[in-house]
Amino acid sequence: MNKVLLLAEILTVASALIVGFHPNILYASVFLLFTFCGVAVMFLFAGADFLAGAQVIIYVGGVTILILFAIMLTQWLYKIKLADIRNKMVVPALLSAAVGVFLYRALHQMVAALPPQTPEALEKFTATPKTAAIGQALLGGYLFPFEAITILLLGAMVGAVWLARPE
């Protein structure tokens, strides 16, 4: 079981590296799909079964396809510029590495501040299905954010259709 999780994490990081460094935007967006799949497996091992399914449906099936459509609509395949990345890469690389290290160290302090779970509790948490609990929470304590996000989605959908309307 641990092997699968390790493989998923390696897949996630490796394809994210390709997304960050590949000069061709089409390859980068195809490898973004593998990153999303790896993250879905990581969610599954963290006891988030519903989220893993939602990740596959929304990201792998929705966002990636949308991005690929946008690439196809805006640039012809043979016209995609190979040198899509800026030449100055040292400063952004140092900056983003510093941000990542800072984030990891800051979260590490938070890890130390919160009490850890027992191994039995972790087993139990991973083994319980979460769909029913998430549904109860969305229509219970999280009702207001849930309704707000439905309005946000409606607004975003109408706005996207209006923006992309024909002349």
């Binding site: 990581m42 966002v63 979260l107």
Partner: protein, 108 residues
């Protein structure tokens, strides 16, 4: 190898993957000229945030609140992607390019 496997299934392993994804996303946003490339970086950043929420919800609190926040992040990312791609299509129709450097209409 055994050590690595233990690390990968711990909270620290999840946080490390999240941090790597986040910094790669920042790098992608900073280096891409293409507007769609910047969007790819933003998606990586949002996924990193989701990983961190889910990891803390399993390894520390033991509640599902972190998962619900991650779900909201996912929905916001989907809405944001739809609007951003509509803007990119509009911009392409206007300028025949999606180079982010060309988006300087509002500068003056």
């Amino acid at each position: 190898m055994n050590h690595l496997m233990q690390f990968s299934s711990s909270l620290q392993g999840y946080l490390a993957v999240g941090a790597i994804l986040f910094s790669l996303g920042v790098f992608c946003v900073l280096t891409r000229k293409n507007a769609i490339g910047i969007l790819l970086g933003i998606e990586l950043i949002l996924n990193a945030a989701g990983i961190n929420f889910v990891a803390f919800s399993k390894f520390r609190t033991g509640l599902i609140d972190g998962q619900i926040v991650a779900l909201f992040i996912m929905l916001i990312a989907a809405a944001e992607a739809a609007v951003a791609l509509a803007v990119i299509l509009r911009f392409y129709r206007l300028k025949q390019t999606i180079d982010a450097d060309e988006a300087s209409i509002m500068r003056n």
